[in-house]
Symmetry: C2
Subunit: 211 residues, 2 copies
DNA sequence: GCGATATTGTGAAATATTGCACATAGTTGA
DNA sequence: TCAACTATGTGCAATATTTCACAATATCGC
């Protein structure tokens, strides 16, 4: 267990959140920002910003703040988003298509190089981004040949684990799962589950309390 | 500060996660489940399951476990998903459309009753689910007339705060934001931000470390 | 060069969350 | 009825995360 593995997961997620306003600040040519202002933009405590950054180095200047451009470069270096990543997506329903086309992903260097579906009527269809939907039987081959590093799952829940296993076994190093099931992975494959109905349920809980 | 406000936010989110396998167990006619099995299905600690549930009551039977059907009913009651919710969506790009059509949402009683976009070329278009895209100038009126309780934002980031303010001011009680900016709200309006590029960045961080 | 001011980096305190371990209570079979 | 077994509910300890508070260090104006 090395030093880096002790960095709290919330800190790592916040780094990504910090980068959003930094990009906007860079566009608006603001050269420097304080932890206090960045914190306000992200809705967190200023000490938190400083501590999160301090896990990785000393990026600020005392009495001045952080150079916007430098800080953004450093954060991207930390999160390994200073390079492109090769992804594929399994499950080309509405959500899958939307994600494959998503500007936000493209802008950050996440390149979808293959799209799969098990529905024969969808096979061969060309997406606006140029990808052609392939049968899921081609997953193993494509992951190997195109050196796909991350798999995204947007299938129905009952198929999700099966495709996760297949992706893992084919060699992807990480999986982003949008199906509303908890996917289990081996040690060698990192998983993140995203279930946005959970967020709605959290909201419902809170507003029902007030009513 | 009442008793309920001391319940940890992670516990509330986990309740939603617990409900996923419970639904499947109900379909497969498994009558009873132990905290240990449910925990394994959700990738958490059994004591955590028991403690989360204990915040809201005693739902289990010692020596036996939890009745699947009853527990699901209780969780739905707690999360206020035992009723329908009325939502609208602002920003009818790929992601907005996918969310409006999403089966997972529909199944859980989240009803989209209005869809808005500021792009004139999209206005009047009918979605597969039957909704007609309206101009954003109609947001205030629709929220009031249709008693919309939750607003979903899937616009570009630079417009997101403006529409959030408008939704809030029109009377929605909660906002689910998919734009990659941190939306600020008043006390009266609960917000959840979902930025899935953040999840990818988290994955990238971890797999880059191994390489 | 120096005092006034600003803002970082960080140890230590405060708070929040998780997990252990066991008393408690229900079930089953003889 | 009772012993053996099972699995919950929960006080408390362990761990994780956040926030405070301040020393350290940079800039600016004179």
């Amino acid at each position: 267990m090395n030093k880096e593995s002790k960095i709290p997961a919330p800190s790592i997620e916040r780094l990504a959140y910090y980068s959003r306003p930094l990009e906007a600040l860079l566009d608006s040519e603001t050269p420097v920002i304080s932890s206090e202002k960045l914190a306000r933009l992200c809705g967190v405590n200023p000490a938190q910003v400083r501590k999160d950054l301090a896990y990785f180095g000393e990026f600020g200047v005392r009495g001045v703040g952080y150079d916007v451009r430098d800080l953004l470069v450093e954060i991207k270096k930390i999160l390994a988003t200073d390079r492109d990543w090769t992804l594929c997506i399994v499950g080309m329903g509405n959500l899958g298509s939307a994600i494959a086309e998503n500007e936000n992903f493209k802008k950050r260097g996440y390149k979808f190089v293959a799209a799969f579906d098990s529905d024969p009527t969808k096979i061969g269809r060309t997406l606006p981004c140029g990808l052609i939907i392939e049968p899921t039987s081609r997953i193993r081959e494509s992951v190997r040949d195109l050196k796909i590093e991350i798999g995204v799952i947007t299938t129905r829940p009952h198929e999700a684990q099966r495709f996760a296993d297949l992706l893992m076994d084919s060699g992807v190093k990480a999986i982003l799962n949008f199906a509303p099931v908890q996917i289990r992975t081996l040690e060698c494959c990192k998983i993140e589950n995203v279930d946005f109905a959970v967020k709605l349920e959290h909201l419902a809980y809170h507003i029902a309390k007030i009513l």
